[in-house]
């Protein structure tokens, strides 16, 4: 039962990180290696705000906005010049970026993990076990953010622009949609979502510079298993993988439980390279 709850909570956070990643891939064909670092920096910005006496919610907001701006700057400086070059170049550039950001965090904040105090410390009882309310809040908030994203994509002008750009970049431009700006916005938005997940998850794991590499590989797995660029698929895949790992950890160490999702990824890649949660193309 605890495994089920933990799996769901981890799954929602993972889904939040992965949906930013898959959004960026879907719109820009960019595999963002630095996505985990945006997640980590978001968490660090959160700790800074908390240290300055801000509340948890202020930290969440400030972290999202800061990383949104950082994302815009990164996109303009490193990715825009690479538009039209082969995808390899963007993979390499974001990989370089992840090195810089990761070591910047180490330099700025030091190697000792920082703690984010959870805004709720209450527990509730379920099947003779104490379960913290805060974890439930995380899952609900992540779901709310993703729902907001979905509504935004569905209804807002920018949402329609983003979807149009994802489907046909050239035609979108011919309809007067400012495609370069849409790219920047999507990268920033994806970053902001990663930052928000970082702050939300911070209280459970502690914040240090290895957060990025820790989550990016799993986010990649989620994105591939869910189908690259497919938001709904990513959410399903994230929950599925987290549940799988959560139950696997009953029988093995957490380090080995990761292998379960690795194996799932390889199986997916071999048999359904377009993603497990995508209808088979005709």
């Amino acid at each position: 039962m605890i495994q089920l709850l933990n799996g769901l909570v981890n799954g929602m956070i993972l889904a939040l990180v992965a949906s930013g990643l898959t959004l960026i891939f879907g719109i820009m064909d960019v595999v963002n290696f630095a996505h985990g670092e945006l997640y980590m920096l978001g968490a660090y910005v959160g700790t800074t705000v908390l240290a300055a006496g801000g509340s948890f919610w202020l930290a969440l907001g400030v972290a999202s906005v800061t990383i949104f701006c950082l994302g815009a700057a990164i996109q303009l400086v490193t990715l825009r010049p690479l538009l039209g070059r082969d995808p390899l170049a963007t993979i390499l550039a974001t990989f370089g970026l992840s090195l810089v950001l990761q070591n910047y965090a180490l330099w700025q904040y030091g190697p000792v993990a920082r703690k984010i105090q959870e805004p709720f410390t209450g527990h509730f009882r379920i099947f003779q076990l104490e379960y913290p309310w805060y974890r439930i809040i995380i899952a609900v908030l992540s779901a709310a953010i993703m729902l907001a994203l979905w509504l935004f994509l569905k209804r807002a002008t920018w949402g329609i622009w983003i979807r149009a750009t994802a489907q046909d970049r050239t035609m979108a431009a011919a309809m007067g949609i400012p495609v370069p700006l849409v790219h920047t916005a999507v990268f920033s938005l994806g970053g902001a979502m990663a930052a928000a997940s970082g702050v939300l998850y911070g209280p459970l794991v502690g914040v240090d510079q290895t957060l990025g590499p820790g989550i990016i590989l799993r986010a990649f797995i989620v994105v591939v298993v869910g189908g690259m660029g497919n938001l709904g698929g990513s959410v399903l895949a994230a929950v599925f993988i987290s549940l799988l790992e959560s139950f696997a950890s009953l029988w093995m160490s957490p380090a080995q439980a990761v292998i379960v999702s690795f194996v799932l990824l390889i199986v997916t890649l071999l048999f359904r390279p377009t993603g497990l949660f995508v209808p088979t193309p005709k």
Partner: protein, 235 residues
């Protein structure tokens, strides 16, 4: 209003346009004829800023717009209806229209006006409003592509092979639409395989061969004398 002056363009290393010059006046329907692969579509794409001209200039509304980004051209009043229609497949009909409608300077009244107009021209689209673009038939997609372009309130529409693959009934409808647009004062640069249709709706016609404009004539003159048509198009 729109002019291409000695435009040269390349696809990779192959030289497609070898100095195309043409002009479209405000509110005028101009045909662009030629065999397959002579560079008609490329001419439209170059005007739209999708292919960067290696030499030459595009002038729109008295302004040199060579090298201006495509989305800015669209905002200036150039609309493009591509050969393969390029409907956004997972966007609904309504959302497809919104890609052109949601822009600065379109108030509520104007929005309603524009929508009322396209739904009057294309009642079918109103019915199919919430259907995804990919579920439309070829003819419906063509209508949507034209309707979507109209959302931009363009001064000129670059219309690439609008009747390709359509049933005769649909072809008649496209022809009516071109007429209506002309009456509304929208200029059209029409690329077509169908010579009779082009001659019927256009005021003037350019004939292209191997990446250059070889011949220019008023449509009535060509209707009277089909020797030129036979020479360049072999029909």
């Amino acid at each position: 209003m729109l002019a291409a002056r000695d435009v040269h363009a390349f696809y990779g290393k192959s030289h497609i346009l070898h100095g195309v010059s043409l002009e479209v006046r405000a509110g005028e329907v101009v045909g662009l004829l030629g065999r397959n692969g002579v560079g008609k579509s490329t001419t439209l794409k170059t005007i739209m800023g999708l292919v960067r001209p290696a030499r030459g200039a595009i002038v729109f509304d008295g302004r040199d717009v060579t090298g201006v980004a495509t989305h800015r051209l669209a905002r200036l009043g150039l609309a493009w209806v591509p050969e393969d229609r390029r409907i956004f497949p997972s966007l609904s009909v309504w959302e497809n229209l919104r890609t052109g409608l949601d822009r600065a300077g379109v108030g509520h009244a104007k929005r309603a006006d524009l929508l009322e107009k396209v739904f009057r021209y294309f009642p079918l689209l109103a019915e199919r409003r919430y259907q995804a673009g990919r579920t439309l038939s070829g003819g419906e997609q063509q209508m949507l592509a034209i309707a979507r372009a109209m959302m931009l309130e363009p001064k000129i529409i670059l219309l690439d092979e609008p009747t390709e693959g359509l049933m005769p009934r649909m072809v008649g409808q496209i022809r009516e639409i071109i007429e209506t647009l002309r009456q509304d004062g929208v200029a059209i640069l029409l690329v077509e395989q169908s010579v009779p249709l082009t001659l019927a709706v256009s005021a003037r016609v350019y004939i292209m061969e191997k990446g250059v404009v070889r011949h220019e004539a008023p449509a009535p003159a060509l209707r009277a004398d089909d020797a030129v048509i036979r020479r360049y198009l072999g029909v």
